[in-house]
Each structure stands twice: as C-alpha cells, then as structure tokens.
Subunit: 292 residues, 2 copies
C-alpha cells in the first residue's frame, strides 16, 4: 500500500465528513458556526483522525464505521488549538499560515467556538452506536476520550506547559508534559477502535504506539520550532525560546534530542504486529520526517 | 414532604459528592485541580443537580444512582460560569460573593479549568453504566446533554447574548437567547433521568417543565439584576444595564416582565402529574421566590 496516497485520500475523506457537519460557505458572519468552521477548515492535516483510521485498518474496521470517532478527535484537537493560541495562553496570531481564531472572531467567540467543538466531540462519540458498535463499548470509548482529554490528560498538559515557562525543569518533567499535552490524545485516537471492538490485547499495543508516537511528534515540533522554516510551517519559528518554553533542544541540546527522537520512533512499533498493515508505521515515518 | 428541608439535605449530599471527586484543601497552588475545586466549592446552590434528583424522585429513581448525572450537570454549569465571567465575555469580578476564577488564577488557568470541567462532565456521564442503567440509555442521555450544551444549545445562547449587547432585539429573539443560555441545560437536567429509564412520556413532560423553569429562572435573574440587593446576591447589580444587555425588564418594562414570569411558572407544571411528588413544583416555587 502506498502510504502517501492513502494519506492524501483519507485526508480528503475526512475533509468531506467535516464539511458535511458544517455546511455552507464562509460569509464573514460572527456566528458560532462560522467560527467553528473556520478553524476546522484552516488547513489541518487530519493526522489524528488518520490515526483512528490506521488503527481501524489494523483491526479490520472499515473507515466509514469510524467516521464519528474521526470527527470527535479532530473537533477535540481543534478546540485545544483554538484555546492554546489565545492571548492568555501561547498568544499565537498565526497557525498553518492563517490568522488564529481570536484574531478573526475576537477572544469571546474563539473561546466559545472551542467550547462548542469540545462539546460536539462528545455528541459525535454517541453516534457510534448507529454504526453497529455495542453501546457498552461506545460508553467505554467515550470515557477513554474524556479521560485522555481532561484534568489528568490534555488539559493538565497545557497547564503544566504554561507553568514551565521561564523555569528550569527536569527532562522527566518535560517528558510528562509532552505525554499529557500531545501523547494523551494520540493514545485515545489509536485505542478507541480497539475499545470499540473489545480487543484488549491490541488496545495495550496501540496505547504503547500512541504514547511514543505522541512523544516523538512533540519532539519534532520542538525541533522544528528551532530549525524549521516559518513559511513551510505556516507559523512563526523561534517562538518557544521567546516564551521561555521548556523544550528538549533547549534542555539537552539538538544532537541528544535527535537521538531520543529515534528511540521513541523505534519504541512505538515494538508491540505491534507490523505484518497486519503498513499504515501505522507509515504514519509514524511520515510524522517524523515532516517539515511542517 | 418539606421541600426546604429536602433542598438543604440534597445540597449537602451533592456537596459531599463533589468533595469526594476533588479531595484536599485549598493550598493556594496554581493547579488545575485547585482551580476546578475553587469554582465548584464557591457557594453554588446546586439547583441543577437538585433538578436531576427531583426528576429522579418523580420517576422513582433513588438519588445515589443519579450521582454521576448530578455531578455532570454541576461541572458543566460551573464551566459555563467560569467562561462567562471572563474579561472577554461578561467581565465579572465577583460571583456569589467570591472573586471569579480568572481573578484568583489568571485567565489562562480559568479557561483551562472550564475546559477540564466540561470534559469531566462527559467522563461522569459514562459512569452511569456502573449504576445499573443500560448502556444504550446512557449513550442517549450523554448525547442529550451534549446537544443541549453545545453549538445549538448553551454555547449558542452565550454567543447570541454577547451579540445582543447594545443592540435592539425583539422579545422573541430575547426569549430564544434565554431558552438556549439557561433553559437548554435545565431541560437536560430533568430529561436525563427519564431517558435513563426509557420513559418517553415523562421525558416530554419534563422537557416542557425544564423549558419553562429555565425561562422563568432567567427572567428572575434579569429582574434581580435591576431590583435585587447586591449583598444578598453576592454579585453586583445593575451590570446588565451597564453592558447594554437585552433583558425583559428593559424591553417590556418591569410590570409586564412580572406578568410573563407568572405565565412561565404556571406553564411549567401543565404536563406533569403533580400527585407524583412535590419536589418539582417546590423547586419551581423556590426558584421564583429567590432573592439571590
């Protein structure tokens, strides 16, 4: 299977699913629908729903049955970006080459668009029962998503990330931030399909993959913030240093950061049966080699 | 049954449930747990979980089985207050006589505490399966909560409320704002127990009650903002006029607002079988006569 082609096609499918949920054209209105739509269609790479689909392929689940889960993780991810970009958080004006939500819609509507996307993520998860997954499994998958996203997951990661600005923290503390801020949601993406079909053994292997995929992904992010090209990235570089953010390159140097990245990449695949499909390893390679 | 006594006792029970979820003492730390705990224990009256329990009593469901639903609606309500109070929204420094979250923890942590509470609400709903409700019903109840809270419910109400500041709007448009901003979540509170036991007929009657309870509740809020006592309310009065907020008293005058309020109060009970329990009508009377 050509992974690059699959990524292109799956991205297009996911884009169509999102547009079906948010019909209409941008009309310059200051509505909640316009604000949600703007950020959802602001050039996202759809990596998280692709991870849902890749995990689904590993487990033999056809893509269309995972549509609500794909939308849920993308909505949840988009909410987290909108809120992270706010002036009181990372104060970013640009993302993926486009003005951030609060620059276009103002802070109030940006916060509310994030709130609505987070809420909609859970509405979507409920729809999985209409696609033949058993209700107890849907409840478990929803709970997994809430746990990975909440006070002991994604949100806690953002809190610790903000608290670490302009402070010296240990490598262990930094890894914990990355695990919560980035890996927690990615773990949910790949574990949800396994929970939905009740495959405990694969769930463990996929959670392990998700954790190291997430750690590696965040490491690449930190490295690109130092050495990346602002045009290709679609956002400013050097911003981490400006905010006094703790990053691996700052803590251990670029060479060591690169070495740890390779370790993560290798570790991610150790518990998977690679013969069952090239998508999970392909996505990992793609995410590691990215320039954006 | 003595409704006032029941309210006191149920409030105490709900407080204990919340404290069990957020153990420990305030320690002045800038943590997500501290910020969530602060707002949850900032003197809330627990009206929404009381509505869940009152609806449960109407349907013959014992309180402890509804614990996760009670916590879910209180967490969701608390998130909405934290975000509504933010500088970019209603910019309130005080609520229930205490400093608002962003005054104590700063804007970033206040936004994140709201995000975590919203997420935790959905984690809680999943726990209902452990209390003997059937998983398909739990999924339906979770979906109902997400719909009433999201882009076509509570969040949309806040968007329309902000957009109506300093503008002339019709009485119909104002009622729509109140229905979304306040009634939508109250509808969910009383409908969730009916969905959990699959009682369609009661669900309709309870949704009707919730809608008019919510409209009446918001009307009292608007009236108290004009004529109420700031000390008893624990927050500033006259703030709606200051923000140029559309309110019933401003639109139709205080006398007419009072008349509509009585209509709402009467309408709320029309579809209920009052003989099945005094709590729903008692709570309504209590909420109408409040001075806070």
């Amino acid at each position: 299977m050509d992974v690059a082609l699959w990524m292109e096609e799956s991205r297009s499918t996911i884009d169509q699913w999102i547009e079906a949920d948010f019909p209409g054209q941008p009309d310059g209105s200051q509505s909640i629908e316009a604000a949600m739509r703007y950020s959802l269609l602001a050039g996202g790479k759809r990596l998280r729903p692709q991870l849902v689909l890749a995990s689904g392929a590993y487990l033999g689940i056809v893509p269309k049955r995972l549509r609500p889960a794909c939308l849920a993780v993308e909505y949840l991810h988009t909410y987290s970006l909108i809120h992270d970009d706010l002036p009181s958080m990372d104060n970013d004006d640009w993302r993926r080459g486009m003005a951030t939500s609060h620059k276009v819609f103002g802070e109030a509507l940006a916060i509310l668009a994030g709130d609505a996307l987070l809420t909609e993520a859970f509405a979507k998860m409920s729809e999985l029962v209409t696609l033949g997954f058993s209700p107890p499994k849907v409840v478990s998958a929803t709970q997994l998503l809430a746990h990975r996203a909440g006070r002991r997951g994604l949100v806690q990661g953002q809190v610790l990330d903000l608290a670490a600005e302009n402070r010296d923290i240990s490598v262990d503390a930094l890894q914990e931030i990355h695990r919560l801020k980035t890996a927690a949601l990615i773990e949910a993406c790949v574990a949800i399909p396994a929970v939905l079909v009740g495959d405990r053994q694969s769930e463990e292997a996929l959670l392990h993959y998700g954790r190291y995929f997430g750690l590696a992904f965040q490491m690449v992010d930190d490295i690109l913030n130092v050495v990346g090209d602002a045009t290709e990235l679609g956002k400013a570089t050097g911003t981490d240093a400006g905010l006094g953010k703790a990053t691996y390159p700052r803590l251990v140097g670029m060479e060591r950061a690169q070495a740890v990245l390779w370790q993560y990449e290798k570790e991610a695949l150790t518990r998977l049966d690679i013969a069952r499909g090239p998508l999970l390893s392909g996505l990992l390679t793609f995410a590691m080699d990215r320039k954006w």
